[in-house]
Symmetry: C2
Subunit: 388 residues, 2 copies
């Protein structure tokens, strides 16, 4: 096991009707806030009205900044920073999924920094403080409500980059599974794929032994697999929606990565698809992860054997260790397909003529990708080709 | 799933040589502390000298209060409170296992309260503040380093009672698995039993559905079972000691209880054995838990079936659902026996003539015990009798 530090200070407020507590929880920190969200969705489901009512009941002044889109962009972050500065706002309430939360996180560190907030993403500067953040989560997927990460796309440079710092951890995150009833099949599937991907980035580790977190990872994936199947049949199954929501948080709050080196190569390959082709994050991961597995499994067949047996119930006596390992990858790919997710680049409209070499070059500008196997340009091109 | 709030602010600092960071971590909070510990053990293993050196390097003044024994007592807590008050101490460094940490927690709330600290345990008063606490953990078992609980024995009233409040959460906990190499077979076994018991108190829930935490509980137990076996053969296996140490923290940091009602009846029955007979906590749990299971399993056979299949690998087709359930309890009891732990009261020197009725009456003074099944006096007597 590797040495590690673990601390996660987010207060999770989970369950039915918890969104009605938004005003009260926010009021513990501020009475003048930026209300940050996407667009029409939270209005259509009645959440917007509930939030406004809850804020007004606590006499909280708010300025709205809507317009966050999937793969949140730097320009809107800068707009949010300006609003916070001009109005002396010290708290951001993010109502939405990972994109809204990531945008809020970037605003929170940018508002207290005189330079360009992008400096944090390129490593030119380190933040010394951040505005407080509260979250009302609408989409269980990114785990951003309890993670130390924000991922922002710079439209000018066509770069999608993550920034890690515990300063961006929200003060609280309200998770009401009922809010997720209206998430459609495709987005539910993308959320499940994203949750599983966050676990897999930790599961596939070069750390030789980390038994407890191996097992926690495996059973968290199993829970997502079982419960997303229930939700696909009955989108209003409260318990199954609850499991998906809580799993998405646990997948990314750091506990599943304790004592082990994480990978994160597949996320970087998937980010590039989102930047260039606008692919939904979960769908991009659904294409990349099986291809990555097919390319790297020979480096540690035993780990993929364990993945096959413990997560996908492959009979350990089915064949050689390698055959069992490959069967596990097949089962994972079948699971994604059955959810209606793409598993090939061509399903995203990306063909052989895509400039994989240029994509790889861009991804490698900060060094080799991943840790389970360290990927160079040829490796990345090969993985994209396997995904065709 | 039940509605819940979850927040755990303890910083875990885990791994080799992390005890050398004690001074630096403490200095973030204070330069005048109470150094609280048990007795000779930490001196014998060289830990005491390392801690003193580390504190001196950071110019931290300390007053020592040693003498914490298993089942920590109120009189020493009061002594600690006096020392803190007289010397304007604002930080307690607990070096030890659960007893030392629990004692430190009680001192931390008592020092800022004008009345009798026992008032918190009887529910007469609620603390408004607490001194900061840091921990260097020496025994993986109680999980107190990351829990909101302290359990103290009142020698005068012969009561052992727990008190829950997030105020007592330590600021940091240093966990170096190497420190645990010298823990002997019996104490290692007791620690594993305690860890598993903390998980079982959450696992056996009346909440109908809580799939993810069910699975997290099951795999955490599996990890303890596998790794304690390794440690019994090789006490200096770093990875296995690490797994036991991290599992003991995760078992009791609250995450395995999210979304579910917990039980805790067995702990109360076991506490009584410790108070009356001085039984080591883990050993008391080892006697009580199988007896509790045999008494209550018929209330929810399906859950014990799941416990048998998922935790103890009992073939689900072995027999009827009840036969499988019973086999699981047998396997759990065999596991405890094989660790060298007692599983019968007579092994503790307690026979039929013990006054189980009086014990039950005392335990019931604050209401029925447990939630999986609510136990009354007859139930408790029956469980003790099964344990004979």
């Amino acid at each position: 096991m590797e040495n590690f530090r673990f601390k996660n200070t987010v207060e999770i407020i989970f369950g039915k009707d918890t969104d009605t507590l938004t005003g009260k929880e926010t009021r513990k920190y501020s009475d003048k806030i930026l209300l940050h969200y996407g667009g029409q969705t939270i209005k259509n489901i009645g959440l917007y009205d509930k939030i406004i009512k809850s804020l007004r009941e606590e006499d909280i002044n708010f300025i709205e900044l809507a317009g966050v889109k999937p793969n949140p962009v730097l320009s809107l972050v800068k707009e949010g920073i300006e609003i916070c500065r001009k109005n002396s706002i010290d708290f951001i309430l993010a109502v939405g999924g990972g994109s809204v939360i990531d945008s809020a996180k970037a605003i929170s560190i940018g508002a207290l920094y005189d330079g360009d907030v992008w400096d944090f993403f390129t490593g030119k500067a380190k933040p010394k403080g951040a505005l407080d953040i509260g979250v009302v989560l609408t989409v269980p997927a990114a785990g951003s409500e309890s993670s130390v990460v924000t991922v922002i796309s710079n439209e000018e440079t066509q770069l999608k980059k993550g920034f890690h710092n515990s300063l961006v951890l929200p003060k609280f995150a309200i998770l009401n599974p009922e809010i997720t009833y209206t998430i459609d099949h495709f987005q539910t599937a993308c959320g499940a794929a994203d949750t599983i991907a966050h676990i897999l980035e930790r599961y596939f580790t070069p750390t030789p032994k980390a038994d407890l977190t191996d097992r926690l990872c495996e059973c968290a994936i199993r829970s997502v697999v079982d419960n997303v199947a229930i939700v696909m049949k009955n989108p209003e199954d409260y318990d199954a929606r609850s499991e998906l929501m809580w799993a998405s948080t646990i997948a990314h709050n750091g506990i599943l990565g304790t004592g082990r080196i994480e990978d994160w190569a597949s996320h970087k390959l998937a980010h590039e698809l989102s930047v260039l082709y606008g692919t939904t994050h979960g769908a991009a991961l659904s294409v990349i992860f099986p291809a990555w597995m097919k390319y790297v499994y020979r480096h540690h067949v035993k780990r993929f054997f364990q993945f096959a047996v413990r997560v996908w119930n492959v009979d350990p006596c089915f064949g050689t260790q390698e055959e069992v390992a490959v069967k596990g990858i097949e089962k994972f790919e079948d699971f994604l397909k059955n959810l209606g997710l793409p598993v090939r680049l061509k399903e995203l409209g990306i063909a052989e003529d895509a400039d994989f070499a240029a994509m790889a070059e861009k991804e490698l500008q900060w060094g080799l990708l991943g840790n389970f196997v360290k990927l160079n340009q040829d490796d990345i091109i090969n993985i994209y080709k396997i995904a065709l």
